[in-house]
C-alpha cells in the first residue's frame, strides 16, 4: 500500500529561483526595476560603502583592543540597505544585530553609533549593552538585543498595534537563517498570518548560524517555503542585488499597507566574514566556499552599474572613502575620549521611577570603594 495522497514533499516541488534585477551585464531587468533616480542610486551606493568601511574599521579597532566586540555585515550590505531603503518614513524596523547600516540610513547619527561601540557616557543606552546593541527611536529603529528571534514576534505585535490604532505603519523585522529555528519565528509568523499584521519578515539567509550551515537548521528546501505553514506569502530574492531587494521589499510594504498582511522575504546572501570578532570561521568552513560570492559582491555590482551609466569614477570613489575615513576617525576620537557612563546610570530606567531597594543599592554603590579598572 502506498502513502495516501501525501502533501508535496520537498523533492517534488520546484523552488522559484531568487529574483534578480541587476543582471550579469550590469543592466537592470525592466520588469522588476525599482526605478531609482541616479541621484538616489549614488546616495544608496554611498551608504553601502559607508557600511562596508565602517565595518572594516571596527574590526580593526577590536583587534587593537580599543573596542570589545563587533558584529558586522560584510557581504550582506545590499540586503540590509536595500530593504531599509524600501521602508517608508513612518515605518519601523526591528533589527537583529547586523543592521547598523540600516539604522544609519534611517537617521541614527554616526557619532551615536560609535559611542555605542565604546559604551561611553554619550551612548544613549549608557553602556548597558555590548557594542552593536544600540537603539534609536527617532530613526524608528528598535533596540538590538542578543536573544535570537525575539524581535520577530515584537515587530509583528508593533505592526498589529498600529493597525488596531488605524495608523498607516508597516514594520520590518530582520533575522538570520538560524533564527528561523527559534520559537519566535514560529510565533511571529503564525500570529501575523492569523491577524494579518502589516509586517515584513526579512530573513538574511547568509548560509550560516555561527558554525552551523543552513542545511543543518532545517530540512525545508528554502526558508521562503516556511511561509506556507503560516499562510504567509513569501518571496526569494538575490540578497546581493540592491535593486531586487528594494523591489521585493517595496512590494511587501505595499501589500502590508493595503491590508493584505505579512510577507516573508528570503534574501539569499552570504556571511563573508566571521560570525563576529569572536569567531574564526576557518575552523569550520573552507575558504573556497566564499569564492563564488566574491564575484557577487553587492557593492561592486552597484558600482559597476553606476560606472556603466557614467555616474561613478575612481576619483569619486576615492573622495568618498576619504570622507568616510575622516568621519570615522573623528567619531572614534570623540568616543574614545568620552568618559564611561556615570555610576548612578546603573540604576536609572530599570523602572519608571527608582524604587526604594534600588535607591538603597545606589547609595551603597556610590558610598563604597571603586572597582579596580582592569578586567
Amino acid at each position: 500500500m502506498t502513502m495516501a495522497a501525501p502533501n508535496p514533499t520537498p523533492a517534488d516541488r520546484s523552488t522559484p529561483g531568487p529574483l534578480r534585477v541587476l543582471l550579469e551585464d550590469g543592466k537592470l531587468d525592466p520588469e522588476h526595476d525599482p526605478k531609482l533616480s541616479l541621484d538616489q542610486l549614488v546616495q544608496l551606493y554611498e551608504h553601502l560603502v559607508l557600511t562596508r568601511v565602517t565595518d572594516e574599521r571596527l574590526v580593526t579597532l577590536q583587534r587593537q583592543g580599543r573596542i570589545g566586540f563587533h558584529i558586522g555585515s560584510l557581504g550582506e550590505e545590499a540586503a540590509i540597505i536595500g530593504s531599509a531603503y524600501a521602508m517608508r518614513e513612518q515605518d519601523y524596523i526591528f533589527p537583529c544585530y547586523r543592521e547598523f547600516g540600516a539604522a544609519l540610513m534611517r537617521g541614527m547619527p554616526y557619532q551615536r553609533y560609535i559611542d555605542n561601540m565604546f559604551g561611553n557616557a554619550n551612548d544613549p543606552v549608557r553602556g548597558r549593552q555590548m557594542p552593536d546593541h544600540y537603539t534609536c527611536r527617532a530613526a524608528k529603529f528598535g533596540s538590538v538585543s542578543s536573544p535570537i528571534g525575539t524581535q520577530i514576534t515584537q515587530a509583528m505585535g508593533f505592526a498589529w498595534a498600529a493597525r488596531i490604532q488605524k495608523q498607516d505603519l508597516v514594520c520590518l523585522s530582520y533575522f538570520g537563517d538560524g533564527s528561523t529555528s527559534s520559537n519566535e519565528f514560529h510565533n511571529g509568523l503564525n500570529f501575523a498570518g492569523v491577524f494579518k499584521a502589516p509586517v515584513v519578515f526579512f530573513c538574511r539567509n547568509n548560509g550560516w548560524a555561527i558554525s552551523v550551515p543552513v542545511e543543518r537548521q532545517t530540512a525545508s528546501r528554502t526558508i521562503a517555503e516556511k511561509g506556507i505553514a503560516y499562510g504567509v506569502p513569501a518571496v526569494r530574492v538575490d540578497g546581493n542585488d540592491l535593486f531586487a531587494v528594494i523591489a521585493v521589499t517595496r512590494d511587501a510594504v505595499a501589500r502590508a499597507a493595503a491590508g493584505q498582511g505579512p510577507t516573508l522575504i528570503e534574501a539569499m546572501t552570504y556571511r563573508m566574514g566571521g560570525h563576529s570578532t569572536s569567531d574564526d570561521p576557518t575552523r569550520y568552513r573552507p575558504q573556497t566556499e566564499l569564492e563564488p560570492w566574491v564575484s557577487r559582491d553587492p557593492l561592486e555590482r552597484v558600482r559597476a552599474h553606476l560606472e556603466q551609466r557614467g555616474r561613478w569614477s575612481p576619483a569619486q570613489e576615492e573622495a568618498l572613502r576619504t570622507r568616510i575615513d575622516a568621519q570615522f576617525k573623528e567619531a572614534v576620537a570623540q568616543a574614545e575620549t568620552t568618559p564611561p557612563p556615570a555610576l548612578d546610570t546603573l540604576f536609572d530606567e530599570v523602572y519608571g521611577t527608582l524604587p526604594w531597594h534600588l535607591e538603597e543599592q545606589k547609595r551603597e554603590l556610590l558610598a563604597g570603594p571603586r572597582a579596580p579598572k582592569a578586567h
Partner: protein, 324 residues
C-alpha cells in the same frame, strides 16, 4: 456599594480601563468569545469587539511577544496566561525582553503591560494547574509583582497596575476567585502598589502572607489567639517592590515572624522576606524567622491539602515562634 467576588472585581477593573483608554487591549487563549476559562473577561468581547479582546493562537510566547510589540508601540496590553503554570513558554520574552526593554533602550522604549494569570492550589488542579511562581519573577529586575487577596484590592490594584509605567505580573489566587466576596466601589479607584495591609493586629508574632493564604493565616491567628498569642497579619498585596516599612515596623514590635506562601520553600519569596528582615531589623528578632510553605516537590493532586500551608500547619509554627 455593590458586593463582588474577585472575578467580578477584576472584570470590572478591566472594563473601566478599556472604556477610558482605547490603548488598553485584552488578549490570550479563550479570553474572547467565551470570556476566559474562569470567566474573568466575560462580556468584554461583546462590549469592545475582537480587536480589543483578542482570542489568540495557543502560544504563550506568542502572546507575550506580541504584547511586547504592542507595548513598544504605545498600547497597554493586558495579556492573560490561562494558568500561571503555562507561563514558561513566555518566560524568555518576559525576562529577557519585557523586563529589560526600558533599561536597554535608555528609556526610549518602555514596555508596559499587565500580565494577568491565575495562581495557586486547592482547586484539584495537580502539578500543572496549581503553582504559584512569584519567585521566578521577583528575582528579575524590571518587573513588578502583585497578588491581591480580596475583591476590593483586586480591582484597586489592577487599576493601579494598569496605570503604573512598568510591566506588572498580576497573580490572581484562583482558589478564592469566587469565594472571596466583599464591597467594591463602583467606578475607578486605585490601591497603591507597594502598600501592604495589616489585616489583623497583635503584638506577639507577625504573620506575613499574600493571596489565598491570607485566609488561612487569619484562621490560624484566630486559633492562636485562643491560646493567648496575638498576631499581626500582614497582607503584602504587592510582592515586589515590597512595602518594607510595614513589614519592618511590625517585626520591630513583635520580634517574631512567620512567613506563609504556597510556593515551594527553597528559594521561594519567603527566603527573600527572611533575608530582608535580617537585613533591616535583625537586632529586634527574638526568634528565628519561620517559613511555612509548600514543600520542595511538584504540586500534588490527591494530597494537595497536605501540601498547602493551611491553617493547621500555620498554627503550630506560630506557637513555636511565639514560645521560642
Amino acid at each position: 456599594m455593590p458586593q463582588m467576588n474577585m472575578v467580578q472585581a477584576i472584570n470590572d477593573a478591566l472594563r473601566i480601563a478599556m472604556k477610558r483608554d482605547d490603548r488598553v487591549v485584552v488578549m490570550g487563549e479563550d479570553v474572547g468569545r467565551v470570556g476566559g476559562v474562569f470567566r474573568v473577561t466575560a462580556g468584554l468581547f461583546d462590549e469592545f469587539g475582537d480587536e480589543r479582546v483578542i482570542d489568540t493562537p495557543l502560544s504563550e510566547g506568542g502572546i507575550i511577544g506580541a504584547a511586547a510589540g504592542m507595548a513598544l508601540y504605545g498600547m497597554v496590553p493586558i495579556p492573560e496566561i490561562q494558568f500561571s503554570d503555562f507561563i514558561w513558554p513566555a518566560y524568555d520574552q518576559i525576562v529577557s525582553e519585557v523586563a529589560k526593554y526600558r533599561y536597554r533602550s535608555g528609556g526610549e522604549y518602555p514596555c508596559k503591560m499587565v500580565i494577568r494569570t491565575p495562581v495557586g492550589g486547592g482547586i484539584r488542579g495537580g502539578h500543572y494547574h496549581s503553582q504559584h511562581p512569584e519567585a521566578q519573577f521577583i528575582h528579575v529586575a524590571g518587573l513588578k509583582v502583585v497578588c491581591p487577596s480580596n475583591p476590593y484590592d483586586a480591582k484597586g490594584l489592577l487599576l493601579a497596575s494598569i496605570e503604573d509605567p512598568d510591566p506588572v505580573l498580576f497573580f490572581e489566587p484562583k482558589r478564592i476567585y469566587r469565594a472571596a466576596k466583599g464591597d467594591v466601589p463602583e467606578g475607578a479607584f486605585t490601591v497603591d502598589l507597594e502598600s501592604a495591609q495589616v489585616v489583623r493586629e497583635g503584638g506577639d508574632v507577625t504573620i506575613v502572607t499574600y493571596g489565598a493564604m491570607l485566609y488561612e493565616c487569619l484562621d490560624a491567628a484566630e486559633k492562636v489567639a485562643g491560646e493567648g498569642v496575638e498576631c499581626d497579619v500582614i497582607d503584602l498585596r504587592t510582592l515586589w517592590p515590597i512595602d518594607v516599612t510595614t513589614l519592618t515596623e511590625s517585626v520591630k514590635k513583635t520580634g517574631r515572624v512567620v512567613i506563609v506562601h504556597e510556593a515551594p520553600k527553597t528559594c521561594g519569596f519567603g527566603s527573600e522576606l527572611v533575608s530582608l528582615i535580617c537585613e533591616k531589623v535583625f537586632y529586634h528578632l527574638q526568634a528565628p524567622p519561620k517559613r511555612v510553605t509548600g514543600f520542595d516537590t511538584p504540586f500534588p493532586y490527591t494530597l494537595e491539602m497536605e501540601y498547602l500551608p493551611l491553617s493547621h500547619r500555620i498554627v503550630p509554627a506560630v506557637l513555636e515562634t511565639a514560645r521560642a
